[in-house]
């Protein structure tokens, strides 16, 4: 499997990253390099091996259901670009 220039442009758009034309071909080469690596790994016989979903073979620790975070709105909003009525203001988005 390899990615076309159009695939790269689409992935960049989905990730909201601006990529211009010559960058795109450089990324295409890098991404295809990674995919090639994966293809190599896929040649390994993994029959009977349970897949891991994390690089570390340990499990998630759970925390007790307790409220531990105080209200720090004033501190957080002091560094926000725009606030009003306790809300964070962002450029208008309507889907």
């Amino acid at each position: 499997m390899s990615l076309s220039i159009d695939d790269v442009a689409r992935i960049a758009k989905l990730a909201r990253i601006r990529v211009d034309a010559d960058e795109a071909s450089a990324y295409q080469a890098q991404l295809n390099g990674i995919l090639g690596l994966i293809e190599q790994m896929q040649a390994v016989d993994t029959a009977g091996i349970e897949p891991m979903s994390h690089a570390r073979d340990v499990h998630q620790r759970l925390r007790a259901d307790e409220v531990s975070e105080p209200d720090r709105r004033a501190a957080f909003q002091a560094v926000a670009p725009m606030v009003e009525d306790g809300l964070y203001l962002v450029p208008k988005v309507i889907e």
Partner: protein
Amino acid sequence: MNGARWETVIGLEVHAQLSTRSKIFSGAATAFGAAPNTQACAVDLALPGVLPVLNRGAVERAIRFALAIGARINRINVFDRKNYFYPDLPKGYQISQFALPIVEAGALTIGVDDGEKVIRITRAHLEEDAGKSLHEDYHGMTGIDLNRAGTPLLEIVSEPDMRSAKEAVAYARALHTLVTWIGICDGNMQEGSFRVDANVSVRPVGQREFGTRREIKNLNSFRFLEQAIDYEARWQIERIEDGHAIEQATVLFDPDSGETRMMRSKEEAHDYRYFPDPDLLPVKLDEDWIEQLRSALPELPAQKRARYQADLGLSAYDAGALTASRATAEYFEALLAALPQADAKLAANWVMGDLSAALNKVERDIADSPVAPAALASLLGRVQDGTLSGKLAKQVFEAMWAGEGDADTIIAARGLRQLSDSGAIEALIDEVMAANAKSVEEFRAGKEKAFNALVGQVMKASKGKANPAQVNALLRRKLTGMD
């Protein structure tokens, strides 16, 4: 295609907000109605360097749900990132479960016209809610409140097993009853604690393949769910009969017009690029914990329904109504236990009749009924021992509701004791017969209607207090000369 008979196929995705005190990945509070952003901590805001830590209470509630629907619990389950950009989702992804959800393959039985139907539940997974966008009044800007961001949700996905809007509503109601029953969700639909998405498609009756579906998003009442599905199915049938194909799309229901309208088409559909979240390790569930939760599960609605029919001799309808909520079932059981003589039908009739009518009138929940089960039991005890007729009992109930005291106090204060003294009743009958000679004659000439008129007169003469069964028997004896 014209004249073909159509079948509607529906699957539901329900987002149940889990009733934890804190958020799924942070220690911020989840209480409803707080001032904007006062319950949004650094993790919820996705400030740099923060890490999610999973809330044990959310996992516990998902396990309880799995046990209640007889589902498989994945002992190892994994959180994934669902990527999309929207300002009320500060991380740029929602933490959800994709390939390995915590709950898979359960079922829920619903009541339908001709009995029961099993609706299969494909999966239920844990995820975090997004924040809220306010599009009005901010000088052309959008206001963002992140209090809801990170609130734990259980997304419950059914198989496309429902065939009408009515069945979809029955399933949604049964699910709502269950999640509130086992205490994992408060079920408050106005506050968005229980939201429904409906996948709807149509196909000619007899066709095996499903039609193309459209998804109706975010229905927050059972009435809207029914209206939206009915409208959507009719719309799809008309489109197909007019020669168009249905295109996969996401639609919104407008309660004002009663119509659905397109939100986004398949081309604009999101590409979420799910992948395991490296910030969270796989979750491993301990057998002892699961067993402990299994043994702590209350008797479930379906089990109670079966028991009410088998052991108490109630009808399927009564058993269904009494298990519509856990509070109703608990009230009924407390009332039945407190009755001097066990009479499930009497208790059921009062809970479903006068009590629920009175509660509905003031929109009050049965759990805070002003007339407690013990108080109602003492009233019904007076019906059982013949002190009160059914009609007088209703009067006493109204007085109890109005706070005039317990049943015996009201009976004494209002002189409502039923008249059961045969001598006194016979005296009344003699008076009424003398004053209504015409009715007496008509009855003797074979007019049964005249009998009812005379009973009415006797009851009136007793100010409603005469024991109706005794009046009937004594009057008939006198009229037919058997006295």
